[in-house]
Every structure is written in structure tokens, then in C-alpha cells.
Amino acid sequence: MNPALGLLRREIAIAWGRGGGLMVTGGFFAGATLLLPLASGPEPERLAQIAPGAAWTVLALSALLGLERLFERDYEDGALDLMAHAGLPLEFTCALKCLGHWLATGAPLAVLAPLAAIALGASPTLSPLLFACALAGGLAFAFTGGIGAALSLGARRGGLLTAVIVLPLFVPPVIFGGGALHAFDSGLPWRAGFALLGAYAAAAVALGPLAMAAACRNALS
């Protein structure tokens, strides 16, 4: 097993470890989705109309959970020191950490998102697109979120700071994905929105690690 696979396995194990991980993120996602019909009234027509957008928004918010711990744990216990000076390049390490975060929480949420939308009354025909959007969007959320997590290293209440830094970066994928879902639902061309979402995710994967590594080096020095 090479160092990269080892790191990926370690990241997933830590994300799924005690007191966090899938149950918490999935529970938050389910709970937040449940609040919606309670707040906006139970009329099936209205719920069905907002279901895809709601599932998409809650997905973006769920992606914030656990982000603050992405680098902070390793920063606090000295692991980031060792990762920064030895082994793989720090940019690659950051990319692997985000990938691990996405595999551990983002990918499972992508399975939950269509189920939540159907539960709210969305048409099941929307499920494949919502699943694909959630996969690509989750990647964008993880890799832009990592920038916020790295920038808030060493700050008190870093989780809140991470959310404030990251939410503006979540705006484009939320617009692109939401637009594609809405267009599909209304029988309009939806491919452009989905393509833009994919492009944003690709840009985040390519550029995010550079920013994260710079922010980590800054925090360590």
C-alpha cells in the first residue's frame, strides 16, 4: 500500500470514527430535510415544486459539517508538521484529504439526496440527475471547503469562520446545480447547468489544493 492510499484510508477511518462521520452528516441531512415541510406547509403540490431545490440546499449545508476538523486535528496533534516536511507534496496531501472527506461524507450524501427529494414529493425521474449533481457538487463543496478549513487553522471557533469563508464559494455550484435541476423538472435544457457545475468542480479540484497548501504552510510557520 503506497502512502497516498494509506492517507486516504486514514482520512476515511478518522471521518467515520467515533463521534462523527456518516451518522452525524446523514442525520443532519435527514433532519434538515424534515424541517422543510414543517415550515412551509404540507401541501404536496408546493412541496413537490421545491423538493429538488430543498434537497440541493440542505446538501450544501451538510457539506459544511466536519469541514472544520479536516486540517485542524492534524494541525493540533502535529501530524500536519510531519505531512508538510516529509512524504508527498503538501498540495497532493491536501487534495487527498479533501478526496477522503468527499468519499467519507459527500458520496454517501449523494445517495441520500435523491431519496430525500422523492420523500418530499419530487418526481423519481429526477433522481439520476440529482445523484450526479450531488456527486459533482459534493466534490466542489469538499475542495472549496478545504480552502476555508485551511485558512481558518489556528483560529478560535474555526468552524464558524470556515462556514463564513466557504459559503460564498458554495454560491456558484448551488446556482448551477439548482438551475440544472429546475430546468430538468420543467422540461427545459438542463445540460448547460450541469456542465457548469462539473467545470466548477474540476476547477476546485485543480486549484483548491494549491490554496490549501499555501494556507497550511502559513499556519505552520
Binding site: 500500500m1 503506497n2 502512502p3 494509506g6 492517507l7 486514514r10 477511518a13 478518522i14 470514527g17 467515533r18 486535528r73 492534524d74 493540533e76 496533534d77 502535529g78 501530524a79 500536519l80 508538521d81 510531519l82 505531512m83 508538510a84 516536511h85 516529509a86 512524504g87 508527498l88 505552520l220 510557520s221
Partner: protein
């Protein structure tokens, strides 16, 4: 990889405060330097600067002709008071991960586990280990992936008398094999060939 370490006219500040300036040191294979000085004098910062984790104000850090990037990535070990061991993972998982991360071999890891008597601890979560046991686990990481330069920050402090002796044996063995040690210490370090006192 053979390394030497030379620090030339080194100056370092932290948080706007000058810690030391005009520091010189030259270490060849087989030599160990004990860094001494009061708390807050910059011993840890110097070790981090050698590892490339923080910038110096002026002066040179050279590794005897080896490119600094290569030397730092695959020629040195940093053992600080933050040991990088994850509390929620088992000792065995952590040792295995770091050994692979630092390019070590499983055979060397097994030897290190025996040398530091860690076999019974491997299944325990790191949070269940005492400070001395954690330090032994961190030392095993050094032995698992052989690298010439060891940067040690108070390597002996959490260890009991028996393991202090063992750790010194391990250091002496490392020096005999052509290694170098730069260690920040408060007590005398018997294996040290040079003592460098850091004073502002």
C-alpha cells in the same frame, strides 16, 4: 543518503521578537548536538526551521550539498512534543501509516516494535497510551524509516529511567551508523558531541 548539517549566521524571530542571531553550527555524520537554553529561547523554532516548517530571518541552513527540498522530504525526522499520533486510532495503525508515509519498510517496522517493546500496545488506541508509551511509539517511527538526520525536541522528557537508557542506546546506535542528531534538551545528553547554547 549521507547528510551534513551546517547553520551559518542564522537569525530567527517569532511573533516579532528576535529569538537568536548569529548562530553557527556544523554537524557531520556520526555527530550529535545538544541544543540548550532557557524556555522560550528558540530551540523548538530552530528545529522547525531546519525541517523547513518556518522561515528564518537571515542566514543559511545547508545539508552538505544535498538539495534542501530532498533532504527535508527524505533525509530527516522531526520528533516534537506534538507527535502527530491520532488519539482515536490504534498504535499499530498509526505506526503502519507513518512508516509507509515516510517510505519505511515493514521489516524495519517490526524490528522497531520489538526494540521498543510495543507489541502489547499495538492494539490499543493512542489515547490509552501514557506519555512515555506515546514517545516510544514516536521513536519507533524514527527507526521504521531510516533517515540520517534526527531533529529531536526533548526526546527523553516523558520516559522513565529504563527507557531513557534505551533511547540513549538507540541514539548512540544511530550515530554509530553515520546518523546525525540535533536535540533540544534541558538535561545533559550523554551522546552529544557538541553543545550549543542558544542565548538571545
Amino acid at each position: 543518503m549521507t547528510l551534513a548539517l551546517s547553520l551559518g549566521d542564522l537569525s530567527l524571530s517569532r511573533g516579532g521578537r528576535r529569538l537568536f542571531s548569529g548562530l553557527h553550527l556544523r554537524l557531520e555524520a556520526g555527530q550529535a548536538c545538544a541544543l540548550t537554553g532557557p524556555n522560550g529561547s528558540g530551540k523548538t523554532s530552530l528545529l522547525r526551521a531546519v525541517a523547513g516548517l518556518c522561515e528564518v530571518d537571515s542566514g543559511q541552513i545547508e545539508f552538505g550539498g544535498t538539495d534542501p527540498g530532498t533532504a527535508r522530504a527524505s533525509g530527516l525526522h522531526l520528533l516534537g512534543h506534538l507527535d502527530g499520533l491520532k488519539a482515536s486510532r490504534t498504535a499499530g495503525e498509526e505506526l503502519d501509516f507513518w512508516t509507509r508515509w515516510q517510505g519505511g519498510r515493514p521489516a524495519a517496522m517490526e524490528a522497531a516494535v520489538l526494540r521498543l517493546d510495543l507489541l502489547r500496545l499495538l492494539d490499543l488506541e493512542v489515547r490509552r497510551l501514557s506519555a512515555g508509551q506515546r514517545r516510544r511509539l514516536a521513536l519507533a517511527r524514527l527507526l521504521s524509516s531510516p533517515r540520517p538526520l534526527w531533529l529531536l525536541d526533548e526526546p527523553l522528557s516523558p520516559l522513565d529511567a529504563h527507557w531513557r537508557g534505551q533511547a540513549l542506546d538507540i541514539m548512540a546506535g544511530h550515530l554509530a551508523g553515520g546518523g546525525l542528531i540535533l536535540a533540544a534538551v534541558h538535561d545533559p545528553l550523554p551522546v552529544a558531541t557538541v553543545v550549543l547554547e542558544i542565548a538571545p
